[in-house]
């Protein structure tokens, strides 16, 4: 039982840390992608 508990606690902490880091990175870089998409759609269709 102790092994399972320790395993899930590590999983939980890892999930939280990775999610937070990903949210920051994706949040910043996706903003640049939005500008690129607008440019792409404007240039494609005039």
């Amino acid at each position: 039982m102790t092994g399972w508990l320790a395993f899930w606690e590590v999983m939980l902490i890892a999930a939280f840390v990775i999610y937070t880091a990903m949210a920051v990175v994706v949040g910043i870089r996706a903003f640049g992608d939005i500008k690129a998409l607008v440019r792409f759609l404007t240039e494609e269709h005039g």
Binding site: L5, A23, A30, H45
Partner: protein, 505 residues
């Protein structure tokens, strides 16, 4: 008693108006059906990750994952782990997604026509749209439950002798906002709003988790799981709600859904190339684990906060997590969290509405016409369908009673089409002998088990118990659907060849 105040409502209102306005901006860029359905195939990786995560992290996701955490403790985390690993493997190997993106299809059923036949596309399209819309049928209910509990509002208020269902009204207004911008701007509007929604809901996710740990304590929550659930709260193999069959079903379900669930497939189609699609999957797999495990942890926290007494309340296991949030999270952060959850609600609804309406237009209505439908007509039909599906959701959400947990319902409705799709896409991409006889067999067999579990459970189980001495559990029904669909695909294709028919391509 909920701590929701006027400040929280202001935060929520500012968000809803802002997201709606951003969505409406998308209209100016829509010129073709490709723009409307797959944003002109112009998505770069990070925006694709944000929009995929925004779509698949719905309010309904948070509610059903938390229900799993409340009912099964930490052993529910196995579902999150499977979800992340499933998507990660697709991202690393390119299995299914690379071939699908390279085919150039915009919907899964369109691929069926490219690989098998027009008839397979039509039949497949009907199954995909039916399963998808049924799947979406409980989203409004989940949203209404969350808002009732977190804000502390009554479900019904009396006004001049009339009983007004406040939360149904709120959900209807939200649905109208979503319908409005999805109808005018299609996928481009969805992408714009998904980005904002990803930011707001991620902020809500992170802050809520921090506050829960600070107020209740990780040790206290873990202790409560052990106290109330024992080893079943920790080991998914021992837990009677899970077990081996359930775990195998979840592996098949998440691997297939990550690649071929129509909303995910549309993101694959919207990327610039197969390589970008693969990159999106590699990175999104990391978000996927948190998407499941964090709300499950909130559910376990609700178990620590309320104990098992919510199990005696109607739909108590669904209500426990939002009720706990309403009482634990402080003013201001509660508003932000609710805005985040509404973001999740909106980002899922817009994409799903677009996905299923596109399938009906492209794969069911258009193939019936002898003459090619114009872009203008396709967009007009899709817009009408979006509104019709919205109306169906309101009716179904109020009427339908869940047979077991919300996740089991969602997973079974999803399996209705995913089981056939896994067989048809895998064999279509990697096996030359796959043909339309196999495809029809896979579609038919894949539908039988989930339907029997969802709508004929009592009759099927009585028959099974009398004749074979066992009952069909969700895990067994789900797992069997994938196995028989794959067998049907292989045997059907071999028979098709044996009878010498020139089929498929």
């Amino acid at each position: 008693m909920s701590q929701f105040t006027w400040l929280d409502w202001v935060i929520v209102l500012v968000y809803v108006v802002g997201a709606g306005a951003a969505g409406l901006m998308g209209r100016r860029y829509v010129k073709t059906i490709e723009d409307f359905i797959v944003a002109g195939r112009g998505l770069n990786p990070y925006l694709a990750i944000a929009t995929l995560a925004g779509t698949e992290m719905g309010l309904v996701t948070v509610v059903y994952m938390a229900e799993q955490g409340y009912k099964n403790g930490f052993s529910a985390f196995v579902i999150g782990l499977i979800a992340g690993l499933g998507m990660g493997i697709l991202g690393l190997t390119g299995f299914l997604i690379k071939g699908f993106r390279a085919s150039g299809a915009m919907t899964i059923a369109e691929y069926y026509e490219m690989r098998y036949s027009k008839g397979v596309r039509w039949v497949g399209g009907i199954v995909i749209a039916t399963a998808g819309i049924l799947n979406m049928g409980v989203f409004l209910k989940a949203g209404a439950l969350f808002l009732t509990q977190v804000t502390g509002l009554p479900e019904v208020v009396s006004l001049g002798g009339m009983q007004i269902p406040i939360l149904n009204l709120v959900m209807t207004v939200l649905l109208i906002v979503v319908l409005l911008y999805t109808v005018v701007g299609g996928m481009i509007s969805v992408v714009f709003t998904d980005y904002i929604q990803f930011i707001v809901l991620s902020l809500g996710f992170i802050l809520a988790t921090v506050v829960i740990v600070a107020k209740l304590g990780l040790g206290t929550i873990a202790h409560a799981v052990v106290e109330y659930k024992g080893i079943e709260g920790l080991s998914p193999f021992v837990n009677p709600n899970y077990g081996w069959a359930y775990i195998i079903w979840q592996i098949l379900l998440f691997t297939t859904a990550s690649a071929t669930w129509q909303t995910a497939a549309m993101r694959v189609s919207a990327t610039r190339s197969p390589e970008v699609a693969q990159k999106v999957y590699r990175w999104t797999s990391l978000v996927w684990i948190g998407r499941a495990i964090l709300p499950m942890f909130w559910g376990a926290a609700a178990l620590a906060y309320f104990g098992t007494r919510m199990e005696g309340v109607t739909e108590g296991s669904l209500k426990a997590m939002p009720a706990m949030l309403g009482q634990v999270i402080p003013v201001g952060i509660l508003g932000l969290l609710t805005a985040g959850m509404l973001a999740a609600f909106m980002s899922t609804h817009d994409s799903y509405l677009l996905a299923w309406s596109s399938v009906i237009t492209q794969d069911i209505i258009a193939p019936l016409r002898k003459r090619e439908l114009s872009t203008r007509a396709r967009i007009a039909i899709t817009r009408v369908l979006i509104v019709l599906i919205g109306i169906f959701l309101l009716i179904w959400g109020l009427w339908y009673q869940l047979p077991s947990t919300m996740w089991d319902y969602l997973a079974l409705t999803g399996t209705m089409y995913l089981s056939g799709t896994l067989a048809m896409l895998t064999c279509g991409l990697y096996w030359k002998k796959a043909n339309r006889t196999g495809a029809y067999t896979a579609i038919a067999l894949g539908v039988i088990f989930p339907i029997s579990q969802l709508f004929l459970l009592d009759k099927v189980n009585a028959l099974l118990k009398a004749s074979l001495g066992f009952e069909l559990s969700p895990g067994l029904a789900g797992m069997s659907a994938y196995i028989v669909a794959m067998l049907g695909m292989i045997v059907g294709s071999l028979l098709g060849h044996a009878f010498g028919r020139k089929e498929g391509r």
